[in-house]
Symmetry: C2
Subunit: 108 residues, 2 copies
């Protein structure tokens, strides 16, 4: 479970340039050392959500001698959203870290 951070990760995966769904899944898998091995049923609906929200745009492409793919790109709003989500992740992980780290069995 990615618990609400899926969108952030997908946006980040597209920051380096446009990509299609299947490739995004692979990028996330390799980039996380297989910690996030996301099923398509998770990623495709997320891409549609993000496009509906205006954070991504898409276009069908057919590479020569290849199969049709839908290429997703970050919109300007998407880039802004990613920046916001990066900050939110920082606050979030910092807070969790403090709460988890601060909990000692018992200080002497």
């Amino acid at each position: 479970m990615l618990k609400g951070h899926l969108d952030t990760i997908v946006l980040a995966a597209l920051e380096a340039g446009p990509a299609h769904g299947y490739a995004i899944i692979e990028t996330i898998k390799r980039g996380s050392s297989h910690t996030f091995d996301l099923p398509e049923g998770t990623v495709y609906p997320a891409l549609h959500r993000l496009e509906d929200a205006g954070l991504l745009s898409s276009a069908w492409m057919t590479p020569p001698g290849g199969r049709r793919r839908r290429l997703y790109s970050l919109t300007k709003a998407g880039a802004t959203a990613l920046a916001d989500r990066r900050k939110a992740w920082g606050r979030f992980s910092q807070a969790v870290e403090t709460l988890l780290g601060g909990g000692r069995a018992w200080p002497a």
Copy 2:
């Protein structure tokens, strides 16, 4: 949104010793510098879930001249679960960090 890490945080809050629901909310609020200001409707059901799962145990207490409170304690299974979840959090946050940090605007 705590995105599935609520249980981890609640378990961690009880690591230092038993506490009641309202106090746990305050502990999490202060410990996270108000990043996590959790509504009761979030925390109480979580406590019940964790107790049903055997990770917490509870007992009603009435301090002298005070009001009745339900004191929650970590069970042995709860302590084990907390250790597991700490590791899971480490893997999770590490992976997100890599994916977010690795996404550069463009490498030269």
